[in-house]
């Protein structure tokens, strides 16, 4: 059994087939890209994996467990974390609080221990704080820990979202367009950062990205979707020369 496997996933919304027969296998430590034109069904794949949508048919396996259709928070607890295409931070909470929310799932104290600040809770709370601070330090946002997340500039919001996802202790990290809205310099930093967190946290990473420089630069294998169908799978160089992919992105050549 592979580390992660999506087996013949189909997602239908009424008459629209958003994803058709999607198959994906990941080994631990993989860094895989998922690309395709707008509306190809990439984010729908993410939503199925993380439990936001229940696939119309097909199964998803993660670490020998069938996780098809489980609740998102349960899937997160099992070790799959994600970021969002349109950033979804807790804008009115501080940076440190944003990250600390992710530790809540592992809190062992009950509500009374928390309210009366009993020793066991305080130990966990302090440990959460230290760990969250360390994560913020890694994404170079620790000096802004007490600021509201909504006040951050775009690029930093993306970094905070990744930090928040890392705080759930994932084994598989799904990044939905991490480089969107970043300038070339920020994008370069992001590419280094993604490789760095993969090694440091022993992650397997699946990412959706439109910026081909990012995808071709860091992904070892690439899946290409178009109209819900997987049209190509391969290494960056194979994908770049694949006629199907070129057709999907640029359209078919017309002969006059």
């Amino acid at each position: 059994m592979p580390f992660f496997k999506a087996d013949h996933l189909v997602m239908r919304f009424g008459g629209l087939v958003a994803v058709n027969d999607f198959n994906l296998e990941l080994q631990p430590g993989d860094l895989v890209g998922l690309i395709g034109p707008n509306g190809a069904g990439k984010t729908t794949v993410f939503n199925m994996i993380t439990g936001v949508y229940r696939p119309t048919s097909g199964r998803i396996y993660f670490q020998d467990k069938d996780i098809t259709g489980k609740r998102p928070d349960i899937i997160t607890a099992l070790g799959i974390a994600r970021t969002f295409q349109n950033i979804r931070l807790f804008t009115d909470l501080s940076l440190i609080e944003n990250v600390m929310v992710s530790y809540h799932v592992r809190l062992k104290s009950n509500i009374f221990e928390a309210v009366f600040k009993l020793p066991r809770y305080m130990r966990q709370e302090n440990a959460m704080y230290e760990e969250a601070m360390e994560l913020l330090h890694k994404v170079e946002l620790d000096h802004l820990a007490e600021e509201k997340a909504g006040s951050l500039p775009y690029g930093e919001q993306r970094r905070l979202e990744i930090a928040r996802a890392l705080a759930t202790h994932p084994k598989l990290l799904l990044l939905d367009e991490p480089a969107a809205g970043m300038n070339p310099n920020e994008t370069l930093q992001l590419m280094d950062f993604i490789k760095q967190i993969r090694d440091e946290f022993d992650l397997t990473i699946l990412l959706i990205e439109h910026d081909m420089k990012v995808v071709m630069g860091i992904c070892e294998r690439i899946w290409v979707l178009d109209y819900g169908k997987t049209i190509a799978v391969g290494t960056p160089s194979e994908i770049q020369n694949n006629p199907e992919v070129i057709k999907a992105y640029l359209g078919e050549e017309e002969y006059a």
Binding site: T50, V52, R71, P72, D73, T76, A77, A81, R82, F84, R88, L89, F90, T91, D92, L93, E97, M100, V101, S102, Y103, H104, V105, L107, S109, I111, A114, V115, F116, K117, Y121, Q124, E125, M128, Y129, R164, A165, A167, T168
Partner: protein, 346 residues
């Protein structure tokens, strides 16, 4: 950075609580009954405002069932404290069911049981309705509030129907009310600032993201609902033993509406705001009574118009909402750090 001046903050909190109770001690001995009564109602509104704010402001669930939970707490506590003789006198249409007719217990346990009953109904109501979102949830909880009133009216052998319960012992005084108010504020503030509170606020900010970060949305919404309902039940019990007579209509939507005004004026999500607005709301309502008296303005005689104060009150509300869209406090909280910083700088 986080721990510095922790003891100073505890000390300041302790000192202010001591000062508060000194004021209450003074008020208890020197003010006449009318003022004491208004201040007691203020304390109850603090409890109600803060508890509803936990549900509506912190967790972002728009609940309109608070008066229903208060009613449950009020009736439960009242039925438990009434003496056996009083119960026989009150229930002359249909006798009270056994074993309630033989029970008479002290005020504190009765209040607590009232709170627990309200919390239990919070759980019961929460499980089906909290799966709904936004406006649908508001309507469902509104429905609950109305159903409770109908139930109170028709379960004559428990609630004495529309006649209500009379002759409750006037246990509620400034001490009881402000004791509970301090505990409510303490409990809910601590809860909001804990890991649980962060999860609740995360749900308010972005439900999808909160769930993706591992927060069990449904569990935490129900939790907030139960805690809010418990303190509403306590508030109801206190109110019952202040008024000494309760009937079903007292717990209809208008009561929820008043509490809603308190939390919106104070600022949805600000406990400090609810405390301030909760304290001044009943005082303002009483103070505005002079408007309803006959008076002469610039030689024009205006006869007393009953209900006029509500018109003025609504105008005041409008003005506040125009100038402070997010309520008086927004989502800010009072903090010692702010005050300490001021003094340290100078």
């Amino acid at each position: 950075m986080r721990k510095e001046k922790l003891y100073l903050r505890y000390l300041l909190t302790l000192i202010s609580i001591v000062i508060l109770f000194l004021i209450i001690w003074w008020a208890d001995g020197h003010l006449d009954n009318y003022y004491k009564r208004v201040l007691t109602v203020s304390g109850i509104y603090i409890i109600l405002g803060v508890s509803l704010n936990l549900i509506n402001g912190i967790t972002g669930i728009f609940s309109l069932g608070h008066a229903g939970f208060m009613g449950l707490g009020a009736y439960t506590a009242a039925l438990l404290t009434m003496s056996v003789a009083q119960k026989q006198m009150t229930f002359f249409i249909e006798p009270l069911i056994s074993p309630l007719d033989k029970i008479s217990i002290p005020f504190l346990p009765a209040l607590l049981i009232g709170g627990v009953v309200a919390a239990f109904f919070g759980l019961l109501i929460g499980i089906p309705t909290l799966r709904l979102g936004g406006d649908y949830l508001a309507i469902a909880t509104l429905g609950f509030g109305e159903i409770i009133v109908v139930v109170f009216n028709n379960t004559i052998n428990i609630t004495n129907g529309a006649l209500g319960l009379k002759g409750l012992s006037p246990y509620t005084n400034l001490w009881w009310t402000y004791g509970w108010a301090v505990f409510t504020v303490f409990f809910i503030t601590r809860l909001v600032n804990s890991s649980y509170g962060r999860a609740l606020k995360a749900i308010r900010e972005n439900e999808v993201a909160a769930q993706a970060m591992g927060v069990n949305i449904f569990y935490h919404k129900v939790l907030a609902f139960i805690v809010g309902a418990f303190f509403a039940g306590i508030g109801g019990g206190l109110l019952a033993h202040l008024l000494t007579t309760i009937n079903p209509v007292a717990f209809n939507f208008f009561l929820t509406f008043n509490i809603l005004i308190v939390i919106v004026i104070g600022g949805l999500g600000s406990i400090t705001g609810s405390v301030i607005a909760g304290f001044f709301f009943p005082i303002l309502l009483e103070w505005l009574r002079f408007i309803e008296a006959p008076m002469d303005v610039f030689g024009i005689h205006i006869p007393g118009i009953p209900g006029m104060r509500m018109v003025v009150f609504s105008l005041l509300l409008l003005i506040v909402m125009i100038f402070y869209q997010r309520g008086l406090m927004g989502r800010s909280e009072f903090s010692w750090d702010f005050i300490i910083k001021r003094f340290v700088k100078d």
